[in-house]
């Protein structure tokens, strides 16, 4: 296994730093949208429901987009340390991504589109007068540009991995898993890169199919798609895409944490086996979004439940346990990047628990589409992927002379953890109180929880503002 110095500057690092700045600022803005929505649900604001649902749509698409963008930047940065990647491709990816963002924002805030980031067919075409067809087309075209950008991104990584290892299966490490030699086995980051490119490419292709069908339906309303097929395709795409963001960002943990512990993250058969399982599970598990769609075959619902549970095994049994072994007795000196990266794995690992429990059909009957759902995904995104992204960003601009956490760093970190945990836990409590998700107006009996959540959201926003400002200061220092 090759050892490389990940700190050495490389061509294209400036683009990665710019991406992390964009991602950080959008994360912050979307958190403000989230805060506004919780304040509205708490009865502290009196927004027009149309505006609330526009904010909901922007928040969902913006958060998923920022998670994808930051995850992609992390994956590109570290993959590029192992195999040559062409910066021009990344620039094209970033350009397509930003074009998509412009279309999405225009569709929402100019066109009034508020059909949620999951755009369940045929809602984009049936707004009840809230938005015109062109706004829905703009929104969906935005997804298309982002998807094309990602296909280009994965194509480049795939080409370079195949060139380096002589085939995608070897880049996945599957030959090693099934008894092959450990010689020239790819490092963890490349196994992650190969795995993500396989499942996310498949996910994006399904997404493209339903995007194309939705656009045609918007232009020619007589063209109808089977809503059940569309729902399957949307949730397959959506589930795979959002999960890919975390599986890309985890490479920051594989690469950066060893610089603190002095213990390289190794490619073992268990590690390759875990990623082999991830490639299968992340695609097979999406049925857990459809557990109340009783018109799909019972076996598919059972698969949704069983694979939902199984997905937790490689995460907790391999990723989290490995991190624990690498940390224990390592002498690691905690600073902000290390703290955020470890938090990312912790948040991800505990966040899947309510997801797994909601993945049980009997539980889902009581929790589906209640606030339990944002409860679990805010845990593993806010305290998972987003923490990893800010950890990577902080590491990118770290002051090498600073070897310990400053008092301000400690304050920001504790505020982020405390605010984020409180915010997510209130969602879980609200879900257990049967409060439905995505309601612009809450009954009075539900408002206290939303008010508490608003307070926690303020803490998270302030902490995130601190992280973004710290990153900007680091960029200026290193410029």
């Amino acid at each position: 296994m090759s050892t490389i110095d990940i700190s050495q500057p490389a061509k294209g690092d400036g683009l990665i730093k710019l991406t992390m700045l964009l991602g950080g600022v959008v994360f912050l803005l979307m958190m403000v949208f989230g805060l506004v929505m919780r304040a509205q649900q708490g009865g502290w604001l009196d927004l027009d429901p149309a505006l609330f649902y526009q904010l909901l749509t922007a928040h969902g698409a913006g958060m998923v987009g920022s998670a994808a963008l930051s995850g992609a930047a992390i994956l590109w940065y570290f993959t590029g340390r192992h195999v040559p990647l062409r910066s021009g491709i990344y620039l094209a990816f970033l350009g397509l991504f930003l074009l998509g963002v412009v279309l999405i924002l225009g569709a929402i805030f100019v066109g009034g589109y508020g059909g949620a980031w999951t755009f369940l067919f045929p809602l984009p075409a049936l707004s009840g007068g809230a938005w015109e067809a062109w706004a829905a087309i703009g929104f969906i075209l935005g997804y298309l540009f982002i998807g094309v950008g990602f296909l280009l991104f994965y194509l480049e990584i795939g080409i370079q991995l195949v060139k380096r290892y002589g085939g995608l299966l070897k880049a996945l490490g599957w030959h090693y898993l099934f008894g092959g030699s450990a010689e020239d086995v790819p490092p963890p980051t490349l196994i992650a890169a190969a795995s993500v490119l396989v499942f996310n490419t498949i996910g994006i292709v399904f997404g493209a199919a339903v995007i194309a069908a939705s656009i045609i339906n918007l232009i020619w309303p007589d063209f109808a798609v089977d809503p059940l097929f569309a729902k399957n395709a949307i949730y397959f795409f959506g589930h795979v895409f959002i999960n890919a963001t975390i599986y890309m960002a985890i490479t920051a943990v594989y690469e950066i944490v060893p610089t603190y512990t002095g213990r390289p993250w190794k490619t073992t058969r268990l590690f390759v086996g875990a990623w082999f399982a991830v490639v299968i599970f992340v695609q097979a598990v999406y049925f857990h979004h459809l557990l109340q769609d009783v018109n799909i075959p019972a076996w598919a619902l059972a698969v949704g439940q069983i694979v939902s549970y199984a997905s937790g095994v490689p995460l907790i049994g391999v990723t989290m346990f490995s991190l624990a072994l690498y940390l224990k007795g390592s002498g690691l000196k905690w600073d902000l990047p290390a703290s955020l990266l470890v938090l990312g794995v912790v948040g991800w690992s505990i966040g899947v628990i309510p997801a797994i429990i909601d993945g049980m059909i009997a539980v889902n009957k009581l929790m589906h589409n209640t606030q339990w759902v944002p409860g679990h995904f805010h845990t593993y995104l806010l305290l998972g992927e987003v923490a990893m992204a800010f950890g990577f960003a902080a590491w990118l601009v770290r002051d090498k002379a600073q070897t310990a956490m400053s008092a301000l760093d400690k304050l920001v970190f504790r505020a982020y953890v405390g605010g984020g945990a409180g915010f997510a836990l209130i969602f879980l409590w609200s879900g257990a109180s049967s409060i439905p998700r995505r309601w612009a107006v809450h009954y009075e009996a539900w408002q206290f929880q939303s008010q508490l959540a608003t307070v926690f959201a303020c803490v998270v926003v302030l902490a995130t503002l601190g992280l973004v400002l710290r990153y900007v200061r680091g960029l200026l220092r290193s410029a």
Binding site: K231, N295, Y309, S434
Partner: protein, 168 residues
């Protein structure tokens, strides 16, 4: 039931948190013991066995109840942003099969009791009729709330019906 689900979830989350925090708080302590790989194997196999037990136990009796021969059929139509039913009075203790559909976009039928506790739900989808079976054990007024985002009046898509004792 929801409170129990919350408590179990929080306990498991705390268990997983404790597992990782033991290492996070021990970076200056001794290195992992030579038995660590065995411990990891035990954790993985325990998770697999627990998963099998939970899966078999929770799926042996299919969670989506099937209607008996004497079930009362109640048809529910929906659309942006309304519900309509065959009847607004349902007999207490009578198994009911709700047959739910929508004329336009996806909706979610959630049935709430007077304490605003969600009792059961099912998705409503255009071109399909979904069935959900429930037996009401308490008389009173129940509400249907929309559980699937369906546009700008999603939060206003509510409906009421009564569960009444026989002969009332």
């Amino acid at each position: 039931m929801q409170t129990l689900i919350l408590i179990v979830t929080l306990l498991v989350m705390m268990g997983v948190l404790a597992l990782i925090m033991r290492a996070v708080l021990a970076t200056e302590g001794p290195e992992p013991s030579a038995n660590a790989p065995k411990t990891r194997s035990k954790v993985i196999w325990s998770m697999v066995v627990l998963g099998l037990v939970v899966s078999v136990t929770s799926l042996r009796e299919w969670p989506h109840t099937q209607a008996g021969g004497d079930a009362l059929v109640v048809n529910i139509e929906s659309g942006q942003w309304w519900w309509d039913t065959d009847t607004t009075e349902i007999p207490l203790g009578q198994q009911v099969e709700f047959r739910v559909t929508t004329e336009d976009v996806n909706q979610g039928l959630g049935i709430y009791n007077s304490d605003m506790q969600l009792l059961v739900q099912v998705q409503a989808m255009p071109s399909y009729t979904n069935k959900v079976v429930y037996t009401f054990e308490e008389p009173g007024t129940y509400q249907i709330l929309c559980m699937e985002f369906c546009g700008i009046a999603h939060h206003a898509m509510t409906y009421e019906f009564d569960v009444v004792e026989a002969g009332a």
